[in-house]
């Protein structure tokens, strides 16, 4: 069967989603696909465009990956724009002269920013905000000026204002309408948003009609408004809405709307049945959809139609949930209350800066719309009420009023949702889809995400999705398997006990006695490797243990994105002599390593090649350094403030204690990394309360805090015991850590571990302080064994011929990895980006 020639014009977010959906449909092999992309790079995330100014790279924003497209067998033409469609002969012609015939054509040409035709709009330093190239231009322009104005106070305009502010400009927003986000918000919501944004240093001017832009006196431009006021600025950014890019369609004789947009039917077909249009260029039922989710829905419809399916586009809900300069803003359904007979409930709390409004039907039964500013928590629930026309509770106001006496506010049980309820709007996943996935064998949130893609877009639905998945699992009576993996029908805790009690010393022995056969996997091998190390503390690069280690442990260093490693020597307590500091500098200089100070008061040396590690460590060891275990799920650092030795306020010697603690527990491997800190007084400069183990000096001894962490989900440590002497302090830490190692799940931090202990903190106190399980002596002696058998892994490795053999790039050549390329940045190396490596990226033609 000959393949269908499919030409896709445009590779923005929706164009990419179309290709993704086509690939997901499994029928890609029935098409010969050619993609035209006029930009120099494949699709990227325009929703998060402003993050480009806060550190995200073009690569971070990328959605379409050339390798992925290559795998899919697509013919990709970058930097090439279609300029003509000949419908009769079914041909497209590009600006580079390429002529291609097609059986089916998909137009995903998107939109362009609307620039009001005021005199002077085309002066230099008048820019738009749409593509990465636009951002480059904005950056260059901003570098020459001090003041920037965004014309347009809608959601795109406010995003653009954030970008200008991030670039360090004095930022103004000029809006024609009397309020910000006039489409989504009402007067009160817009007003609160305005005050919040102004508090962030952005000046807002509403009700301003720009008449002309002329030369300024103090700045590049002067904007003159209809009310006679003027505003001087160096940079003007137009973000006053979008217009569909329909010129190609118009010139090709396809039907377009009076005010623009390519007419499509419910099947996303244009006036020519072989040509589809999707996304912001398409006009459906007189409407242009300027959000990404409806575009994705159209992409799916077009794919289904091409595959002979029946799916149709039925419009899209335009509810939005945004974070604008850190301010939560949500608009649901008929937010303005335009439905006849609609009634409002509003709640404004100026002290906390929150505004909530419900629009309900005249019979008080249904939710028609809502606005939330400053607090988006109830968005998911309210959206479900609106979309599924669920009957409101007798007192709808409870859904937006704060709970007074600690009672939970009226939420919505997932059981109440109909099967058609849309859970994830980004990927259009319904409750029924999730139920189907669970019934089909998914037994975790991760499985459901993988199977349905729900929760993998903006992530806003994840709380709802989680409770739905749990509810469905319970309803099916599924007992979630606690087996570690397919090789062991045991939990990590079971395996720990088996290894301890039976004195098992290797993975093979454990597999033979208690496993289900096979070689193990990336889950059980590192877990067992960690347990063996916690129990017996043998050399991790021993041939029978090395195969269990994740790559970082295998090479005793931290692999970075380009395959090079970073090196972190131990600097106990953050105390280091000038001589040793000089050695670090010399080593970094001699090997041209990127050098950065870590959060744990150490120095991280980046960019070491595999084959350089032993040599570098040889020098570090000669200077008296030891490995820092930054690569392991193990004890990392003990951070400290300077303490009573120097500090006017210090109560006790925090540095001395930190060094003692670090030297006691260094090398201890555990279910996850463990961080400590010691502060010399209650000012807490070492931030001990954010650590797994935190110690703070008091007038009468040491206070011990346990189970805190920073990271993705920060949690303060809990006060465990007060005014301890050093001996008792160490005893308690020994017991807490060994009990953690004995009873935690794999990769479970201490905070989650304690939260999951039945009885929590009180139970842990009982075990450790009151010795309620009579385990105290055992835990201490197990810890003592680890302390006494410590040896520096790198010191052992540099003297071990067998182990050293692995530290080379090639077994048959002395060459280095030619794909490791560095460029200079701020006086140091960094890995070259793909485009800097001059990898040929286009055009790509694959069979």
């Amino acid at each position: 069967m000959s393949k269908t020639a499919l030409v896709v014009v445009g590779n923005g977010m929706v164009g990419h989603q179309f290709l993704q959906s086509l690939a997901d449909s499994g029928r890609l092999n029935e098409f010969e696909v050619t993609v035209f992309c006029e930009e120099p790079r494949l699709a990227y995330d325009r929703v998060y465009l402003s993050s480009y100014f806060t550190g995200a790279t073009a690569e971070d924003l990328a959605m379409g990956k050339i390798d992925q497209y290559r795998e899919w067998g697509l013919n990709v033409l970058l930097n090439e724009r279609v300029v003509e469609i000949n419908k009769n002969d079914r041909l497209v012609v590009s600006d580079k002269g390429t002529t291609l015939s097609y059986d089916k054509l998909v137009m995903a040409t998107g939109s362009y920013p609307f620039v009001p035709p005021v005199p002077g709009h085309d002066r230099d330093h008048c820019l738009v905000y749409r593509t990465i190239e636009d951002l480059e231009a904005i950056k260059a322009s901003a570098a020459q000026g001090k003041v920037g104005v965004v014309v347009g106070g809608g959601l795109l305009g406010l995003e653009a204002a954030k970008a200008l502010r991030d670039l360090g400009l004095e930022t103004h927003v000029v809006e024609f309408a009397p309020r910000l986000m006039a489409v989504q918000l009402d007067e009160m919501g817009g007003g609160l948003l305005r005050s919040k944004i102004e508090a962030l240093g952005v000046q807002v001017h509403t009700g301003k009609n720009t008449q002309q832009i002329v030369d300024g006196e103090h700045h590049v431009h002067r904007m003159e408004f209809a009310d006679g006021e003027v505003l001087e600025t160096d940079l003007i950014l137009f973000s006053a809405g979008i217009r569909p890019r329909d010129q190609l369609a118009r010139e090709s004789g396809l039907a377009v709307g009076e005010r623009g947009g390519i007419h499509i039917n419910n099947r996303c077909q244009t006036s020519d049945e072989n040509i589809y249009a999707i996304g912001e260029c398409a006009l459906w039922d007189g409407k242009i959809f300027g959000l990404v989710a409806p575009g994705y829905a159209m992409a799916k419809v077009a794919v289904a139609q091409l595959n002979g399916g029946e799916a149709e586009f039925a419009g899209a809900d335009m509810s939005t949930k945004l974070k604008l300069m850190g301010v939560d803003v949500c608009s649901i359904g008929d937010a303005q209350g335009r439905t006849p007979g609609a009634k409002n409930f509003t709640w404004l709390n100026e002290a906390e800066g929150t505004y909530k409004k419900l629009v309900i039907s005249s019979d008080n039964k249904k939710l028609l719309g809502a606005i939330l500013v400053g607090d988006a928590e109830s968005y998911g629930t309210l959206l479900q009420y609106m979309l599924n026309e669920i009957d409101l509770p007798a007192n709808p106001e409870s859904m937006i009023l704060p709970s007074v006496d600690g009672a939970a506010s009226a939420g919505l049980g997932v059981a109440a949702l109909p099967e058609t309820a849309q859970i994830c709007s980004c990927h259009d996943v319904s409750k029924g889809d999730v139920q189907g996935a669970v019934a089909g064998g998914c037994c975790s949130l991760g499985d459901v995400k993988g199977a349905t893609k729900a929760g993998t877009g903006c992530g806003g639905c994840v709380p709802l999705l989680t409770s739905l998945v749990n509810h469905e699992l319970e309803a099916l009576g599924v007992e979630v398997s606690h087996d570690l993996c397919e090789h062991f029908a045991f939990t990590r805790q079971d395996l720990y006990n088996l290894i301890r009690v039976e004195g098992i010393h290797s993975f093979d022995e454990l597999m033979a006695k208690h496993g289900k056969g096979g070689k193990g996997c990336h889950i059980c091998k590192p877990a067992v490797g960690s347990i063996l190390a916690s129990c017996w503390n043998n050399y991790v690069l021993d041939p029978k243990h090395v195969i269990l280690q994740d790559t970082n442990d295998t090479f005793l260093a931290n692999m970075q994105k380009d395959g090079t490693y970073s090196i972190v020597p131990r600097i106990a307590g953050g105390e280091i002599t000038p001589d040793k500091l000089i050695v670090l500098g010399e080593v970094a200089r001699d090997y041209n390593l990127y050098t950065k100070i870590t959060g744990g008061q150490r120095v991280d040396l980046f960019g070491a090649r595999l084959e350089q590690l032993p040599e570098i460590w040889g020098r570090l060891i000669d200077a008296g350094f030891e490995t820092g275990h930054a690569y392991g799920k193990s004890v990392r650092t003990v951070k400290s403030c300077v303490g009573s030795t120097w500090c006017r306020f210090g109560v006790d010697d925090s540095v001395g204690l930190a060094i003692d603690i670090e030297n006691r527990y260094k090398g201890l491997r555990a279910p996850h990394k463990i961080k400590f800190a010691v502060s010399g007084c209650t000012r807490e400069c070492a931030e001990a309360q954010s650590k797994d183990i935190g110690v703070i000096a008091t007038e009468n001894g040491w206070n011990l805090y346990v189970c805190g962490n920073g990271g993705m989900k920060p949690r303060h440590a809990d006060l465990f015991a007060t005014d301890l002497d050093k001996e008792t302090l160490i005893k308690y830490i020994d017991r807490v850590l060994m009990f953690y190692i004995r009873t935690a799940d794999r990769l479970q931090r201490t905070s989650v571990w304690m939260d999951n202990l039945e009885g929590g903190l009180d139970y842990l106190r009982d075990v450790v302080i009151n010795d309620s399980l009579a385990l105290g002596d055992e835990l201490e002696s197990q810890m003592q064994h680890v302390v006494e058998t410590y040896e520096c892994e790198w010191k052992k490795t540099v003297n071990d011929e067998q182990a050293l053999k692995r530290f080379r790039q090639f077994v048959n050549s002395d060459k280095s990895d030619s794909n490791v390329v560095f460029v200079q940045e701020r006086g140091q190396i960094r890995p070259a980006r793909p485009e800097e490596k001059e990898i040929e990226a286009q055009p790509i033609v694959m069979a």
């Binding site: 070689k519 193990g520 996997c521 295998t554 395959g563 595999l610 692995r806 077994v811 069979a847």
Partner: protein, 128 residues
């Protein structure tokens, strides 16, 4: 002598000795300008050879990944983002669209021979 003869017959080239390999783990060799990750299984007297380049992480690191088995088949988990690749076929278990090049290998005594011609099961299947 016999090693060399065999090498010509099978178009394999000598790469290294068994002593250079690590049991049930990986090393990397440079073969005709390609980086090839080699995984040695002494009990099967078998060496698997797959592309050392991680197409997801875009770095030459797969020889430093972790070896495992799933439902009887051997796989290699990438050290960067943990995708698993079948050692036999090069196919990614977590994304069947991705297929790595593989190489045929033989052990002749202590010598490892590798056919420098890469094989791609994904391409084979599609053109079949």
């Amino acid at each position: 002598m016999s090693v060399e003869m065999k090498a010509i017959e099978t178009q394999g080239i000598p790469v290294c000795t068994v002593d250079d390999l690590v049991a049930e783990s990986g090393v990397c060799a440079l073969i005709n300008g390609r980086q090839v990750a080699l995984f040695y299984f002494p009990a099967r007297a078998r060496v698997y050879a797959i592309d050392n380049f991680d197409p997801v992480g875009q770095a030459n690191v797969l020889s430093r990944g972790l070896v495992g088995s799933s439902e009887g088949g051997l796989f290699l988990a990438s050290p960067l983002y943990k995708e698993r690749y079948c050692l036999e076929t090069g196919r990614c278990l977590d994304n069947p669209e991705v297929v790595l090049d593989t190489w045929n290998t033989w052990l002749e005594g202590d010598q490892l021979l590798v056919d420098p011609q890469a094989v791609n099961q994904g391409v084979l299947r599609e053109s079949a």
